[in-house]
Every structure is written in structure tokens, then in C-alpha cells.
């Protein structure tokens, strides 16, 4: 049986694993709400993961690493913007290209710089985001139930985890409480309405794509400098796509995105924690547990989402009609 402490530990690991999903999901939310589909979340995260780890390993400063990660992700975001906004190309193809580009370039550059088989050196203290211990976390550890919840579950995460969770209300506020959010949502639904109202469609869409790049950059840096200690090949492991699945599951709404990402994070945490599960004579192999999040993604998306209506102008380059 699973005891209380195990439960807390699984939930704790859920929070850690949900963080990159959440950041990427919100990144996709900004982009897609503005009408730019982005299947390149994965590539941007991967690129950011590599550059943050590489710079952090070289300089020993994790903050410089974070900046480098964000910068590299922004470059790819700009590329996606150029292809899909300025040149009105196919957004899916541009996204696929970015994923390929990131998968290949990260390993290539890593090998060239570090000669460790396409990985960066392991990050030591200073090159990683360390856990933050919330006030009184140690003092209340002994309190039954609430103690472990506070000291294990809520305390002891890196700053990026807290940042990711704060990004949820921030996103909701920006989208639904500000002028920028109103215009952003409008440009994803009917860019002609924005254009005739005298607002630049191109400007708004670039802004959205850049915010997407920023958040993907943070997500990637988190993977390499907080969740793990360094970059390894393909370390995003499909998280960009799970984030997209979560985005659809959440129907492009910030608070729902939080719920969806926590659910997918929980699935990953369970898979990590319980490897071979023995049910009487049958042993459920670890591979099945590892595949579980992906299987459930398919099941959930196929059966439980209901009708998810994407932003109406999503995927369509804006051309003024005659």
C-alpha cells in the first residue's frame, strides 16, 4: 500500500515534472491564442536546454545559463515568426523544421564544444538552480499531515518552479485583464477585425511568438539546470508535444492548462516511481509504465476533452482580402 509519505513524494515529483510542461503549455497558449500554431515548442525547449547547460557549465553561473537558454529559444521563435508571419508560410512545416534543427544542432555543437558524446559536462554547484527552502520548512516538518505538505511538497523547489506556477495567474490576467490580451485574443480569432481597428496584426503576432519563445526558453533551462544537471541528447523527450496536448485538453485557457499539466506531470511521476508493478502473477513491465503518460494522452484527447475549438484564425497567415 502507498503510505502518506510516498503520496507526498509522488506529488512532489509531480510538481517538478509538471513545471516544464506548464511553461511550454503557456508558451503555446500565447502563440496559438494569437493565431500562430507552434509545434516547435519541443525544439525551442531543447535548444534552450542545451545553451543554458553549456553556458552554465562554462561560466559556472546558472543565471547566465538561463539568459543564454532564453536567447537561443528567442532566436528560434523569431525564425518561426519570420516564416509564418512575415513570409506567410505554413506554420506546421516551420515548426517541424525548428524541431529537426534543434535536435541536430544541439548534439553537433555539444560534441564540438565538449567532446563528451553530445552532452554537456555535469553541472556542479553554482551551475544549477538550487532548491529554495521556504521559511520554517524545517521547523514544521514534524507536524502531522500539514508538516510534510509544507516542507516536502511546497518547499524545496527551485525558483523556476515557483515562477512557472506564478505564470498561470499572470497569463490569465494578461489575456483577460489587459488591452494587450484583448488584442491578442482578437488577432487569433479574426485578424481582419484587428486590422480594420487600426492595430498591427503583424506586431501583435510577433509579440505573441516572442513571449512563446521566452517561456520555452525558461522551460528548457529548467530541464537542464534544475530538473537535471546538464544537457543530454533529446532530453526534452516529447515534453513539447505533451504540452501541446495539455493545451488542447485545457482548451487554450490558462487555469485549465495548470490542471492539465499537473495531470500529465502526475502520470510521469507515477511512471518514475513505480517501475515494475507486480499484480499477483502478472508483472507490469517498466516500459509500459514509461509509455503510460503517452497512452493516456491519446486516450484523454480522444475521449475526454469534448469539443476543443481552437482559435478560429489559427494556422492561417493573414492576407488582406480584396
Amino acid at each position: 500500500m502507498m503510505d502518506f509519505l510516498t503520496l507526498i513524494q509522488v506529488l512532489d515529483s509531480t510538481v517538478r515534472l509538471a513545471t516544464p510542461l506548464l511553461l511550454a503549455c503557456l508558451a503555446g497558449l500565447f502563440s496559438e491564442r494569437a493565431g500562430i500554431f507552434d509545434i516547435g515548442l519541443e525544439g525551442k525547449m531543447l535548444m534552450a536546454a542545451f545553451f543554458s547547460a553549456a553556458v552554465a557549465a562554462t561560466t559556472g553561473n546558472v543565471w547566465l545559463g538561463l539568459l543564454a537558454g532564453i536567447a537561443s529559444s528567442l532566436v528560434l521563435a523569431g525564425l518561426h515568426g519570420l516564416a509564418s508571419i512575415t513570409f506567410r508560410g505554413n506554420q506546421l512545416i516551420s515548426g517541424v523544421a525548428i524541431n529537426f534543427l534543434a535536435a541536430g544542432m544541439t548534439v553537433l555543437i555539444a560534441q564540438d564544444w565538449f567532446q563528451q558524446g553530445g552532452r554537456t559536462p555535469s553541472l556542479i554547484s553554482g551551475g544549477r538552480f538550487e532548491p529554495i527552502t521556504l521559511p520554517f520548512a524545517n521547523a514544521v516538518e514534524g507536524v502531522p499531515v500539514l508538516g510534510p505538505i509544507y516542507s516536502e511538497l511546497l518547499s524545496g523547489h527551485s525558483i523556476l518552479v515557483y515562477l512557472a506556477f506564478l505564470a498561470v495567474p499572470a497569463t490569465a490576467w494578461i489575456l483577460f485583464g489587459t488591452r494587450f490580451g484583448l488584442r491578442l485574443r482578437a488577432v487569433g480569432e479574426n485578424p481582419a477585425a484587428v486590422d480594420t481597428a487600426g492595430v498591427s496584426v503583424v506586431g501583435l503576432r510577433y509579440a505573441a511568438v516572442m513571449i512563446c519563445g521566452l517561456l520555452c526558453g525558461i522551460a528548457g533551462a529548467y530541464l537542464a539546470t534544475a530538473l537535471q544537471a546538464g544537457f543530454v541528447k533529446d532530453m526534452t523527450a516529447g515534453r513539447g508535444f505533451i504540452a501541446l496536448a495539455a493545451l488542447i485538453f485545457a482548451k487554450w485557457r490558462p487555469w485549465h492548462a495548470l490542471g492539465a499539466c499537473l495531470l500529465f506531470g502526475l502520470l510521469q511521476a507515477v511512471a518514475l516511481r513505480f517501475q515494475n508493478i507486480e499484480l499477483g502473477s502478472i508483472v507490469i513491465p517498466v516500459q509500459f509504465m514509461d509509455a503510460l503518460p503517452y497512452i493516456l494522452t491519446v486516450v484523454i484527447l480522444a475521449g475526454f476533452v469534448g469539443k476543443a475549438i481552437p482559435p478560429k484564425a489559427g494556422g492561417e497567415p493573414y492576407v488582406k482580402e480584396r
Partner: protein
């Protein structure tokens, strides 16, 4: 004399080889309703898009209230006091009315203060111009008439004093159109200048002070409305004399061709679209179905044309036609001499990327004269297309041109030629002249009347009341899937039909 509200001097604009506007000059006096009339493709919309900053003119000057003004984008147009109500509304459907109104004209970074200020302003505007809308309703929950008001309010909220309306009545019922013109009158009384773009002569004659006529990218005349008449305007538009009435002798109805008994149609969403409908169309008569779009006329046509299943009884020349399963498809219908000109020619009547000659074959591609062993006899088909194009005056008469490269009127002529030339017993024809210019309307109407005079039955569905009244011998009005009443066309008028269309029962009307 005050300066004109708008003065355009020598505006020219070309799209590639097409000269959309050629050296256009126009003066619009403040506080008037100025009509701009012309056929599709005459360049009206291009000219207004230049005025609203959507396109940049290649040549020419824009003067607003006596001041030379550059309008490089919509923002500049708004700043110059110009508001535009497009034919296809530019609204965000899942936003509220209020959100749509402030979009782009917010007062600061935060929404709340902008929204509450707009709410107040909206109440004032509603009082001033009788423009009542629920500010918290979502756009996709209100009707097109209301949506149009939102567009007008959007312009007024931006303090426009020049309002351009592009084909504003295309989507409105007669009573909604009347309301719109009452609002426009009110706006004119308050000193606003209004430009009304339309192809409807009646609206020009009834509501405008001055009218400019455009033809093939040029401004052919600007006259005082009081000093002209519809025939003269039509001639200026088309470049030749046009018959505005449909010229026909009284019908001589014969035996019933189409008999519909207790027809019911339920759509994909489970909504009843046609309810217990009974209707007979006789040989040698045109029966027109009037009604606001969406009251079951489309579904009725689709069932009859074999594009949709239904329940009930339909007889053609006394023989029952299957309404579901085998023998109820479009091919079977055509085999039993039912021809169908669908309502939406670009989606259901033609394949826009295919050549004209291929489009002429569709639906009849099994015909023996188009076959040559296992292959299609394309040469015969092209020769046939050329013959049809000549007979129907399709321009340009080129079988190799893709359907999308013909004008709306010529596209429709291709469809009508394909269907009528098969000599059907029954012609189903939906919105025969939607988006079709006056010259082509005259021609298509003549073809329909000729078919009738040969003793064929015609079932016409149109949202244009004028067309229903002038073309039909008998009018049936559909509302909510039912026939609200039938009238001989020469014993009714727009007012009576308008009431029936709104669902007011026959006796009360």
C-alpha cells in the same frame, strides 16, 4: 460653400494587369448620403478600401474636409474621422459587443476602465441614434442586423463623422433594412456624411442625395438622385439599355409536375428544418419560395436535388421519388429530369480550380455523348462547352479558363447553361442572381422564363424579395420550416410577404 467632406482627385489603382480604379475623382458634400453604384468588379470596394487605408492608391490625392490627407493605413483613416462598415463584418465572434467596440480604441493598458467608459458612451450613443444593443451579448449570439449595428457603433465610438457602408442590406430582412435606413437618416440629420455602396437601384433612389456610378474601374457619372431614374442609372452602370422588369406573359399552369406531401427534414444536429411541408409546382409555372435565409429553404432544395435525405412523399410527374437510400441521390434525380442550380455555386455548383469544360460535364459526365469507349470524349465535351458558352454569352468564351477566373455572373451562366440545356422537367434554382451583375441577371431571368414557357416547372428559392416578386408566378413564404402562406405573385407585395417572412400567420397579415 463648405469644403466637401471627402474629395478624391485622380485615384488610380492596379492589381497586376487589372486596372481596378482608373483616374477617379469624386466630391462628397458633408451631411449627405452619397450612393456609389456599380456592378460587381466595377471597383467600388477597391475605391473605398483605398479611402479606409486598406490599399494604397498608385496615383491620386485624398482630401478630407478641405485638407490633403495621407491614408497609409486604417489607423490614419480612423484618425481622419472615417468609419467603415464592411460587407463581411469585421467582428470577433466570441467577444462581447462591448469588447468588439473598444478593440483598438482602448483608453489604457487595462481593460476594466475602458470597458466601463465604453458602456457609458454606448448608452449615450444608443439614446442619440436609437442604436440599441445589449453590450454584454456575444457576437455569435446576436443576429446579423444587430451585428451591423455593432459595426456602426464601433465607427461612432471612434468619433467617425464619415461613415462608409459596403452593401449593407445584403444580409438583412426588409424590416431590418428599413431600420438601418432610419438610423442612417438620423446620422445624416446629426451632420454625419454617409457613403452607401450598393448594387440595389431601389436603395439608391429611395435614400441617397447624390449618386455616383462606376463601371469597369471608372466613375462614369455623378448625379443628383432627384434628377435621375433607375433605368438611366442601370444604363450608366452596364453601358447599354437594360430591362429592369422581367418581361413575361401570364403563366399557363398545366398538370402538376412536382408534388410534395408532408415533407420532413431533420439536419445532422437533429434539428427539424422542414416541417410537414406541402407544395405543388405545375408545368409552365415558376413557384418562388421567399423567406429569410435559414428557414428551411436550403434544406428543401437539397432534398429535392438529392443532396440530403428526408421523410414524406415527393412525386414527379405522378411517380414517387425515393427520399432516402437507393435512388435518392443527385445522380438519380438528374436521371429523372430534375435539374438543380444550387444556392452556393462556388461550393456546390462548380469546382473553382477546374476548367470551364470540366465544370460543364459535372453531374452529366455519364451522358453517352461524352463517352468514347472507356474514356471520356473530351473533345466532344469541349465542343459542347463552346456551344453553351456562345448561347449563354459567357465571357470570355474560353473552355480552358478555370471557373474561379470568371466573374460571378459568368460563373452562374455556366451552371445555368449546364442545367437548363439538359431540358429538365423540373428546374430547382437557388439564389440565381446572388453576386451577379445586372446585365447577367437580366439574361438569367430570361432563360428561366423561357424554360417556363416551354411548359417546364421551376422552383425558385431566393432571399431577394424583388426577384421573387418579379420572376415568380406564385409565391410561397417559408418560416421555420413551414409554408406560412401562398400568394399569386401579382396579388401580393413586399409588405405582406415581409410579415409572412417574419412568421406572422397568413390570416393576420
Amino acid at each position: 460653400m463648405t469644403a466637401p467632406a471627402i474629395e478624391l482627385k485622380g485615384i488610380s489603382k492596379a492589381f497586376g494587369p487589372v486596372q481596378a480604379n482608373k483616374d477617379i475623382s469624386i466630391r462628397v458634400s458633408p451631411g449627405t448620403i452619397h450612393g456609389i453604384i456599380g456592378e460587381n468588379g466595377a471597383g467600388k470596394s477597391t475605391l473605398m478600401s483605398i479611402l479606409y487605408g486598406f490599399y494604397k492608391a498608385d496615383k491620386g490625392e485624398i482630401w478630407i474636409h478641405g485638407k490633403r490627407t495621407e491614408i497609409p493605413d486604417s489607423q490614419a483613416a480612423i484618425a481622419a474621422g472615417i468609419g467603415m462598415v464592411f460587407q463581411h463584418f469585421k467582428l470577433v465572434e466570441n467577444f462581447t459587443v462591448l469588447e468588439n467596440i473598444i478593440l483598438g480604441a482602448e483608453d489604457g493598458g487595462l481593460l476594466k476602465p475602458s470597458l466601463s467608459k465604453a458602456r457609458k458612451t454606448l448608452q449615450e450613443l444608443a439614446r442619440e441614434y436609437e442604436l440599441n444593443v445589449d453590450p454584454d451579448a456575444r457576437i455569435d449570439e446576436i443576429g446579423v442586423g444587430m451585428q451591423q449595428r455593432v459595426e456602426i457603433l464601433k465607427a461612432l465610438y471612434r468619433q467617425a463623422d464619415i461613415l462608409i457602408l459596403d452593401e449593407p442590406t445584403g444580409v438583412l430582412t426588409p424590416s431590418e433594412a428599413d431600420q438601418l435606413f432610419r438610423i442612417l437618416d438620423r446620422l445624416r440629420a446629426e451632420g454625419k456624411t454617409i457613403i452607401l455602396i450598393t448594387h440595389k437601384l431601389r436603395e439608391i433612389m429611395e435614400y441617397t442625395d447624390t449618386v455616383s456610378v462606376m463601371r469597369r474601374g471608372q466613375m462614369t457619372a455623378t448625379v443628383k438622385t432627384a434628377e435621375t431614374n433607375p433605368e438611366h442609372l442601370a444604363e450608366l452602370m452596364v453601358g447599354r439599355k437594360v430591362l429592369l422588369r422581367v418581361d413575361k406573359v401570364p403563366a399557363a399552369p398545366g398538370k402538376p409536375i412536382l408534388e410534395i406531401e408532408n415533407l420532413n427534414v431533420v439536419d445532422e444536429a437533429g434539428v427539424a428544418r422542414v416541417k410537414n411541408l406541402n407544395l405543388t409546382v405545375r408545368a409552365g409555372e415558376i413557384v418562388g419560395i421567399a423567406g429569410v435565409a435559414g428557414n428551411g429553404q436550403s434544406e428543401l432544395l437539397e432534398v429535392l436535388g438529392g443532396m440530403r435525405e428526408g421523410q414524406g412523399t415527393i412525386r414527379l410527374n405522378g411517380n414517387p421519388l425515393p427520399l432516402s437510400g437507393k435512388g435518392s441521390d443527385a445522380r438519380a434525380r438528374r436521371a429523372s429530369h430534375v435539374a438543380h442550380v444550387p444556392e452556393d455555386r462556388q461550393r456546390e455548383g462548380l469546382i473553382m480550380d477546374f476548367h470551364a469544360w470540366e465544370n460543364v460535364a459535372f453531374g452529366y459526365h455519364h451522358a453517352s455523348e461524352y463517352q468514347s469507349g472507356l474514356l471520356m470524349n473530351n473533345a466532344a465535351l469541349r465542343a459542347d462547352t463552346e456551344a453553351k458558352m456562345e448561347k449563354f454569352d459567357v465571357r470570355p468564351p474560353d473552355p480552358w479558363l478555370a471557373a474561379k477566373n470568371f466573374s460571378g455572373g459568368n460563373q452562374q451562366k455556366i451552371v445555368v447553361a449546364r442545367e437548363i440545356e439538359r431540358n429538365p422537367d423540373l428546374l430547382l434554382i437557388g439564389q440565381p442572381t446572388r453576386g451577379v451583375d445586372i446585365g447577367a441577371i437580366e439574361f438569367i431571368h430570361k432563360q428561366i422564363v423561357e424554360l417556363r414557357d416551354q411548359g417546364k416547372a421551376v422552383l425558385l428559392v431566393s432571399v431577394e424579395l424583388e426577384e421573387i416578386l418579379s420572376l415568380s408566378d406564385r409565391v410561397a413564404v417559408m418560416f421555420d420550416g413551414m409554408i406560412m402562406g401562398e400568394r399569386p405573385a401579382d396579388q401580393t407585395d413586399e409588405k405582406e410577404l415581409g410579415l409572412l417572412m417574419a412568421g406572422v400567420a397568413g390570416e393576420a397579415a
